[in-house]
Symmetry: C2
DNA sequence: AAACCTAGCTTTGTCGGACAAACAGATAAG
DNA sequence: CTTATCTGTTTGTCCGACAAAGCTAGGTTT
């Protein structure tokens, strides 16, 4: 272990990977800033001294990784990886691992409570205004499960944003993407479900305004418990997310 | 909105993207199971009726997304996306977004507490044995900050695993990847830091064994508070993760 | 002079074909 | 039965080509 090696580890990565790595390094260490152009494929060909097909494979890797994107005219530029895209991939991974709604629920409870605590502490006037607008719109569509579910998801995104904690925002996203689509099924299946949802949101928003952490946590827990009770009426918490979605997708299609 | 459209939205995605999507669909809905071969590039060329370069671009997308991989002989096969790879991407995104250690600390506190609660409730004998082995090894290297930091990270991974909640395991990973590398700096910089760390782990493990949630949470909080106190001696919580790492990387290199 | 249009250049997406290196499987040698 | 060799496959890379879409500059219209 302590002997100094005679030879350096030789690099056997394929060329397209090296192209991707080279560009990634420039972005990560800030020499290329988000929004700045990377150059045309032809220029990259010239710089790296490899074929255009090879460069293109490298580009696809970075594009999928979210580090570069093509602007309106398809020119390459560096970009800040959007959480959302990454979160989508994670959600997909969760589905493939056949996680259960119990796992999803438990984790979401933890993360939503943390969100509301952060929001109570640090929400700005803008955050509160956004939440209020969302609440208004929710109240207006209380009888429409599809719209209400969408606004519910947005409410929780706004709450995480109000916590001013980007790590938390990111951490909750994958679970939320799987969790909140079920709201539609539940609100649609439980009478008074919509009204209870809006009422919970209203109490949560009030708590954030009043900087009342206790109340915020209390109503967030109630809100999620409501979800859980509703969910258990239509499915089992211990079935995998994949199967449950599959069944409901079929049911909706018939 | 209610009028039925005359034409279906025409599909203008590039061919390599459609190739990727087509393969992805087969994997997601289970027609190709993890571990099963996708076929050779030549076969895909024949099936999709596009050029090999196009197929290869599509393959790169899926490979980067973690949905397919190449086995030892470079043949394509479907695979379960490894959390770890995705988590690494997320960590990178966090760095680029210049999150602060305060955000990281807050979220980690939430998630580690949730982990220990889950572990206290549901840890199996195997989980406990793994944690015990880790603790033993930690005690043996208490004076070596680098090794101890690595074992500390592993301890927390094992704790999350013991919670039996894969969503939680996934959610904590990106933050943990950024959070725990700092342990080395801290343990190295604070006398008795290593001993306190091992002691905290021991109490946490005891709590898990005794199914004592209060104690588990208490010692987990203390453990992380220790980290925080140590961190504040060497850096500011409100600086970005990127900058702090940069500085310490430079400092270590000199 | 300002707005508009058109032709030409650039860039991307795709294609066909090619070849060396690595590899798997079959076959021959010990 | 093991080891070495041979042979077709497969991947990684390269070359050259072309159509479509976007950009640019110059000329045209109002």
């Amino acid at each position: 272990m302590a002997t100094t090696p005679l030879f350096r580890r030789i690099d056997v990565a394929p060329a397209y990977q090296k192209v991707a790595d080279a560009i990634e390094r420039e972005i990560i260490n800030g020499r290329i800033k988000p929004g700045e152009p990377i150059g045309t494929e032809q220029q990259l060909v010239a710089q790296f001294g490899v074929n255009r097909s090879t460069v293109r494979e490298g580009i696809r890797v970075l594009e999928e990784g979210g580090l570069i994107r093509r602007d309106s005219s398809r020119r390459l530029q560096a970009c800040l990886p959007r959480y959302n895209k990454l979160a989508t991939r994670l959600s997909r991974a969760l589905i493939l691992h056949e996680v259960t709604f119990r796992e999803l629920f438990e984790t979401s409870m933890t993360l939503e409570v943390a969100s509301v605590e952060g929001a109570v502490e640090r929400a700005t006037d803008d955050n509160i205004a956004e939440l209020a607008r969302n609440l208004e719109r929710s109240a207006a569509v209380v009888g429409n499960p599809a719209d209400l579910a969408e606004l519910d998801a947005e409410f929780h995104v706004l709450m995480a944003k109000a916590s001013q904690n980007r790590v938390l925002q990111l951490a909750r996203e994958p679970a939320a993407q799987l969790f909140f689509p079920t709201t539609e099924m539940i609100v649609g299946g439980v009478p008074e479900g919509g009204a209870r949802l809006v009422e919970a949101h209203r109490h949560i928003l009030d708590a954030i305004k009043e900087r009342d952490k206790e109340a915020g946590v209390l109503w967030t827990r109630r809100h999620l418990q409501d979800w859980r009770r509703g969910f258990e009426k239509i499915a089992s918490l211990d079935r995998s997310v994949e199967h449950t979605y599959m069944e409901h997708a079929y049911a909706a299609r018939q």
